[in-house]
Every structure is written in C-alpha cells, then in structure tokens.
Amino acid sequence: MVKIEGLKKKYGDFMLDISLEIPDGRVTGIVGKNGAGKSTTIKAILGLIRPDSGTVTINGRETSSLEAKEKENIGACLSDSGFSMYLTVEDIIHILKRMYSSFDETYFRSFCSSQGLPLKKQIKDFSTGMRAKLRVITAISHNADLLVMDEPTSGLDVEARLEILDMLRDYISRNENCSIIMTSHISTDLEGLCDDIYLIHDGKVIVHEDTDIIKGNYAVLKMDDETFESLDKSHILRSRREAYGYVCFTDQKRFYTERYPEIVVENGGIDELILMMAGGEKR
C-alpha cells in the first residue's frame, strides 16, 4: 500500500532518512520523541512536502502525482490542521459530498448526532475533543483504503480518546483491507490498535517490530552492578546506569528470565521501547 524508499529530507540540522512499508490491511504505528521526524514522515506520505531524494509511493504511484480519484482513497487526519474554523459541520457535509464520490452522509450525520457535534455551529466554537472527533470522522467517512492519522488522540481526555479509538476499531472491522498509519504520543493507544510499530529517532528508523513481539519479547531488566558485569549481553539492546545499578533493554526476555532469576524483569511496552531505545546507551 505505502512504500517509502530512501526518503531524505533536510531541515536545517535535522535530517530525515527513512524507508518503511505498510502492506494492505495493516495498522502501523509510528512512535518517537518530539522532533524525531514522525510528522515529517506523515507529511511525506500525504505529498505535503517534497523529498530531497528517495520515493514515497501509494499503490505504486508517487504521492506527489496522485490523481484526484486516487486521493479519494486516502483519509487524512492531521493534529494541527483541518477545515476552516469558520465552516460548520453542515457546510463540511456539503463539501465532502461534492469532493468524495463514496461519501457516506448517513454515517457521518449519525456519528455527529451520537457524539453531540452540533451541525450549525462554527468549528471555532467547538471544544478540542469535538474538533478531534470531527477530524477523525471526516477521514473515515468516505471508505478510504488508507488512513493517515497524525496524533488523532492528542490533547484529549481519556473518554474522548477511547471513543476515537473505538471509531477506528469499528472502521477496521468494516474495512478489512484498509491500511492505517498512525502516530501517537500515547503508547497504549497504539498497543491496542497497531499490528506493528516503527520507532523513529533523530530522523531514522531504529526499530521496526510487530506490536505482539514488543509486548511479549521485549523487557526492561534491572540489576545491580555485579550482575551487570557478569551478564551475557548478546541480547541487550540498550543499557543505562541508574542509582541502584543498571537498567537494560532486551528483545529476548525469556533468555534472561531463564538464566538470571535474580534480575528484576518488567515487561517492555512502547513507552519502554521509546525511553530505552531513544534514550539509553548502546551496549
């Protein structure tokens, strides 16, 4: 579905240099610290920026040269951009109806009424949560095969976040072949939704792994100095010195739980992945 090959983009001192692939029917998460290059990657997929080199294709077509009909298959949700704040939901319904041949007005309207989004109020008078819901419903209301979502749950309370995630789950269950690429600062959002995760750090992909493997095989190991010195470090990805000893990160949890019962083992998740891989020292 989406293929990024050797994409390079320079902004001052920052250089994005990544390759990634999102197959059909897959939900992929992109994680990383602020300024790692997540949003730039999303923008490159949507053809909003021009790569210095490399290619970004959707179904084999360069994103910058997609025809209107091909763009109808993409649903985009950006964290800091949407329809003009001076429009109302009713205006947006009319606009989308003319833009997308497969716009599902009934679904859109029923969603707005169930979520309490007023039809005649200008978006500038909406709350943050209402705006976020509107952005997501706009992206998923025209049967897109590819959803590109940059921080769809950012700045929302837990209830609004869960509602948005439910909307996406519902969409996936109704469109099995649809691919989703999504960034988020909230790792639990991605853990419950994504099939695989790309960790971007300093403009580069440093980990690409299935979410189940991250949850099942990755772990944080805590030990004293003595144990650390004698530790077989062949499966240690990162380590960090702490006040009480060492914290290590591994992708082979069982290897260490079986051999070193004295080590404190905590399951690794996306948060730990970001903290250790983007913060710890290489072993």
Binding site: L48, I49, A76, G82, Y86
Partner: protein
C-alpha cells in the same frame, strides 16, 4: 473542483454580516454619488472577498489538510481564479441592477446601452486586479502579501507617474493620448488589448500554479 467551489461559497456566506454591511454601504453610495461608481465599488469589494477565501484556507495551518483532499494543487489554483471571476460577475450583475434601480427611484433616466462599454470595462480591469493579487497571495500568504501589495501598487504608481511625466513633457502630449485612445478603440486595438489581457491572465495563472506546486505544508 465542485467541492472547492462549494467550500469557497460557504466560506463567503460565513461572512454574511460583513457582506450585508457592504451592500448597505453600496446602497448609500448608489444614492449619494453620481455616475456608475457603485458598480465598480461593489464589484471590487466582492472580488476582494472572493480572493480573501484564500486567507481562510491558509488560516490555522489549514492548507496542510486541504491539500490532502482529492484535487491537485493546479485544480486548487484554477478554482480560485474561477471562483473570483464568478464572484466578480455576480457582483457586477447585482450592482448594475442596483445602479439602474436606484436611479429609477431617484427619477434619473439611464441609458444602459450607451453606458454599457464603461460598465463592461470594469470586469476585465477588476479581474486584472485579481490576477495581480492572487499570485502575491499564493506566494506570500495573507499577512505578508499586504506589504507585497503596497510594493507592487507603489511600483505601478511610480511607473505611471514616470510615463505620464514623459508624455506630458513633450509638445503634442494631448495628440499622443488621443492617438493612443483612437488606436485602442479601433478593431485592431481591441484585438490587441484583448490579447494582452489574456496573456496577463495566463501569466498570472501559470505563476500561481508554479508557486503552489513548489509549496510545502
């Protein structure tokens, strides 16, 4: 394209209060001022309002999302020119009706046919103004384009001043103007003016397309 036109129309309607004030002001102008000033006034206002939908698109980083919707950047530019032209023509028709109606009320007889050439001239002239404003707005955005307008309009004023000064300094300056006018009204002159108009519109449009296609959001 249809979706974009719908969006711009709705954005324009969202400013209905300002539009109402402009129309009331136009009525005032129509009643108080002699001549067809109201036609150029209202037509220009609506042309500017149509162009200002571009600022609404740009506001709050709106371009990024807009460019993910199903149209090309070229289509976006083309729609702005078409929308501006449609707004201008609509405003022109309304203002001509207003001009005629107000003068009827005032008891002044107007021969629309004899005034038609002057009234019709507003359309290409104001569209040329739009064609000057649009690339500037595409290139510099809503904020910076104000400064750019000052520079461009200032530059044009200086240029015109120099041209008039040069013409005025010679002996037979009136002759030059008269000859120029009679040439412009001749069939060849009209064809040439039309050609220059079309070339200017095309240059403006192609420039805007180039600017938009280079932009990053």
């Amino acid at each position: 394209m249809k979706g974009l036109l719908e969006k711009d129309l709705r954005l324009m309607i969202s400013r209905k209060q300002s539009i109402l004030i402009f129309i009331v002001a136009s009525l005032f102008v129509a009643f108080t001022m002699e001549g067809s000033f109201v036609v150029s006034y209202l037509t220009m206002l609506f042309t500017v309002i149509a162009i200002s939908t571009l600022s609404y698109d740009e506001y709050d980083n709106g371009f990024a999302f807009l460019m993910t919707l199903p149209f090309s950047r070229k289509t976006y530019v083309r729609e702005k020119y078409i929308f501006t032209l449609l707004a201008e023509i609509t405003a022109w028709i309304v203002s001509v009706i207003l001009y005629y109606a107000v003068n009827m009320i005032k008891g002044v007889r107007i021969d629309l046919l004899s005034e038609a050439p002057v009234l019709l001239m507003y359309l290409p002239l104001l569209f040329l103004m739009a064609c000057m404003m649009l690339p500037i707005q595409f290139r510099f955005g809503a904020e910076k384009s104000r400064t750019a307008y000052f520079i461009v309009i200032g530059g044009l004023a200086v240029l015109l001043f120099i041209v008039f000064k040069l013409i005025g300094s010679g002996d037979g300056s009136i002759d030059i103007i008269e000859t120029a006018l009679s040439f412009l009204l001749s069939p060849v002159g009209i064809i040439m003016v039309t050609a220059v108009f079309l070339i200017l519109v095309a240059v403006s449009y192609l420039l805007s397309v180039r600017i938009m296609e280079k932009k990053e959001f």
